[in-house]
Subunit: 468 residues, 2 copies
């Protein structure tokens, strides 16, 4: 695809962005100075002040804004009506951030006092998601200043609980279904495939979590006096967990693969064409050797094949040294990543039944089902996706690649379930931005590219209105 030609109005938006570079950067610093840690109750006031600040920026961008109180942190919602009968776009982001607790690898500076290092701003939330959110808001402001996409109904929803599970989002979206209705949702909360290689994420794995609890004797026993005559719950658990994997990297739960949609040759070919090195990936993770389901590449294994993973094991004595107990109990925390068309509820049932079928008479086995999320696969042949591709090409100077992601992004399911709308995931950040980690960063170039992309998207969607 050759780069599209730019309209005079769009050039106006671009020069608006260029002329305000210093101001927008200062705004980004202001945004990053709020320690809006949603999980920390002592930061409640900071989170609220940050929401208020976001409201101002959205108003400044030309939107009619309201601060929606919730049981948790406020949702900031803004609109700019378009032509009656015109297309609608919902833009989503979040202003809350992960904690910046000191970890093994510490921050080089105060995580809430942004600094610029090698062209990137370093601070908690720089990439996840304040930098990306503000790029979208600045892009909207530039587009509206330049009179782009006047037909388009613009709806912007920035929440404050993404890092703590978006508890208040679903009730709000369900309640405001009519108002939020849109042909597409745009989310900038992911990453490019690699530096300079922008990406649209069209697939996400689903998830189903469960816990296995094996209970044996009523209390920990002396493994000398009792061992050999009482089943050891940790041993029973190990055997059951081991039996959930089959040879060749497969999951052993009967029926687990029944609904799995096979990867078609075209998609496999697209994935194969992505610049990806197994060797570099192995170096990144630091494992002695890669592993996975036979017959699939590393990216296919991570994006498009289901898994059964142990997230946690605990039983008996876990401290220093030895303590010769026969534990009363053993627990495993499990998550299964699901792909289309696996259904979390059905997989939960199949897993439960299988695990219970492995339980010996000498121990009591409980399987606790936790949250699930459906896998997502977005249609790529819609007008909105084509518009996003073109907008990215304008903003980043090259077309995006289409990628999937192995994790789940719950808000994508929220919008799909409540509004029936697919999300277009435009990643402005980089894979090594260190979201959730120390010294989180966001490139100031990507910050500007994001603004241009958003302005271009508004122009494309407002102009075409096609494909909805």
């Amino acid at each position: 695809m050759k780069l599209p030609e730019l309209s005079p109005a769009f050039k106006k938006a671009q020069s608006f962005i260029s002329s305000r570079e210093a101001e927008f950067r200062e705004r980004l610093f202001e945004f990053l100075r709020f320690p809006s840690v949603s999980s920390d109750s002592r930061r409640r006031g900071d989170v609220a002040r940050c929401a208020e600040w976001v409201r101002k920026r959205m108003r400044e961008a030309g939107l009619k804004v309201e601060l929606v109180p919730t049981e948790g942190h406020p949702i900031v919602y803004g609109e700019r009506p378009g032509r009656p009968g015109g297309p609608a776009l919902l833009v989503y982001g979040h202003y809350d951030v992960q904690p910046a607790d000191p970890s093994k690898e510490p921050w080089r500076q105060d995580p809430f006092e942004p600094v610029v290092e090698s062209g990137s701003v370093v601070a908690r939330g720089a990439s996840d998601d304040k930098g990306q959110v503000l790029a979208l808001l600045c892009g909207i402001r530039a587009a509206l200043e330049a009179g782009l996409g006047e037909d388009l109904h613009l709806k912007v929803l920035i929440e404050g609980e993404e890092e703590v599970g978006s508890q208040s989002l679903m009730p709000f979206v369900s309640r405001e279904k009519e108002r939020l209705r849109a042909e597409a949702v745009v989310i900038a909360d992911s990453t490019q495939f690699a530096a300079g290689l922008p990406a649209i994420t069209y697939g996400l794995r689903g998830i189903l979590c469960l816990e296995i609890i094996v209970r044996g004797p009523k209390k920990d026993l002396h493994s000398g006096s009792y061992g050999g005559a009482v089943a050891n719950p940790a041993m029973v658990l190990a055997r059951m967990v081991a039996a959930c994997h089959a040879p060749f990297g497969k999951v052993a739960i009967p029926g687990f693969y029944d609904k799995v949609r096979p990867l078609d040759d075209q998609e496999r070919e697209e994935i194969r064409k992505l610049p990806f090195s197994d060797r570099e990936f192995q170096e990144e993770v630091g494992a002695p050797k890669l592993w996975g389901e036979e017959g699939y590449s590393v990216l296919e294994r991570r994006w498009a094949r289901p898994t059964f993973e142990v997230n946690g094991l605990v039983s008996g004595h876990t401290g220093e040294g030895m303590k010769t107990v026969l534990p009363a109990e053993a627990r495993a925390k499990i998550s299964m990543r699901l792909v289309p068309d696996q259904d979390p509820e059905e997989i939960g049932r199949l897993a439960s039944e299988y695990i219970q079928s492995l339980a010996p008479a000498s121990a009591a086995v409980e399987v606790k089902l936790h949250h699930g999320a459906r896998p997502v696969l977005v249609r790529c042949d819609t007008g909105a996706v084509r518009a996003a591709m073109e907008a990215i090409a304008v903003g980043f100077g090259r077309e995006p690649v289409f990628v999937r992601e192995g994790g789940s992004i719950p808000v994508v399911n929220t919008f799909k379930e409540a509004l029936g709308t697919d999300s277009i995931l435009i990643g402005l950040g980089l894979p090594d931005d260190g979201a959730h980690g120390p010294n989180e960063k966001f490139s100031l170039d990507d910050f500007r590219r994001g603004m241009v992309t958003m302005a271009a998207l508004i122009e494309k969607l407002g102009k075409t209105g096609e494909g909805h």
Copy 2:
């Protein structure tokens, strides 16, 4: 066996014990009031004062005593020489106690302020081991007052580090090998088989502890983004641990059973005759069903068959809720109980080799060998054991049964290895005394029976000198 006739001198010892009942009980209370918790560095002074008190009691009993300083807590050692060329008996016990930390099930009163409830004294250390130690010392005092066993070289060693691994005992015993040489060691630090059914423990299982550490990626990974392409160490561990058990309750490590001495028919018959109820045992442990190696009874499984037990498992997220990590590491703590003629060193090697042979290329597996102790099986046809049987019959009014114990008692190995001497384990306590637990108790009747038993043992050994 009919009860032996009592000599006039022995009757004198008995009346000495009867006449001093109130005094000995008061002494027991004094002993129990020392919070001689060897693991608690803040109790160092209390432990030292308790050792000093023990020295006085031993001197009072007629022994020449010294307080031996060690790198840890003092050893109290006393002697009463017998006839040159006469037999020697080494008596062992400990004056230190377990902590009395508040646990789920709390103490009804101050654990270091003894009270009498239903004929038992309740306090930390009542049964383990102060009550039993003082019974022996009072018995020695009575015997010597009455002039019993004058041929016998009496050697008494009471240490202060049994509850923290007897670190100073081995160096002392090795250094004082000549002085400590004896035909038998008597230890009162175990229990009767059941109330009113005294026991001599003639067999102990050995032990070999190890830790399995499985390392995968260099840090915890997001199980969504990485899961499926990187081996999960918790999963690898589960599979390896599960592979250490074979069907029918057997251990799968090749060569594990090669040196196991089979139970002979006579011993199995003796065990079968013991009053033991599987149903009551199951109720005691509270497991849904008993379990174990096919072809063996519950007591045989606990006493005379080797095991492979998981004592602890830990990996990834072990707290509340779910955290979808692919853990960097997984650990299992393992102890194997060994029976004659398994050798801990050889079993450690076999286990290591087998576990390593299960390791996949996608994870690094480390096997750390920890401490081991040899299994013990004492000859029961010696004069010393016969004398102990008769003494118990005098003290308890009935002959002891011969039992084994599934745990290890390291001091038994210490004496065997350093002196070449077998220990005779005379349990004065009861199985439900609650050693190490809250509301530990010791029956005052058993306290008196223990004194009489000790006096009788001195008379028998001093008189006969046979069978050495």
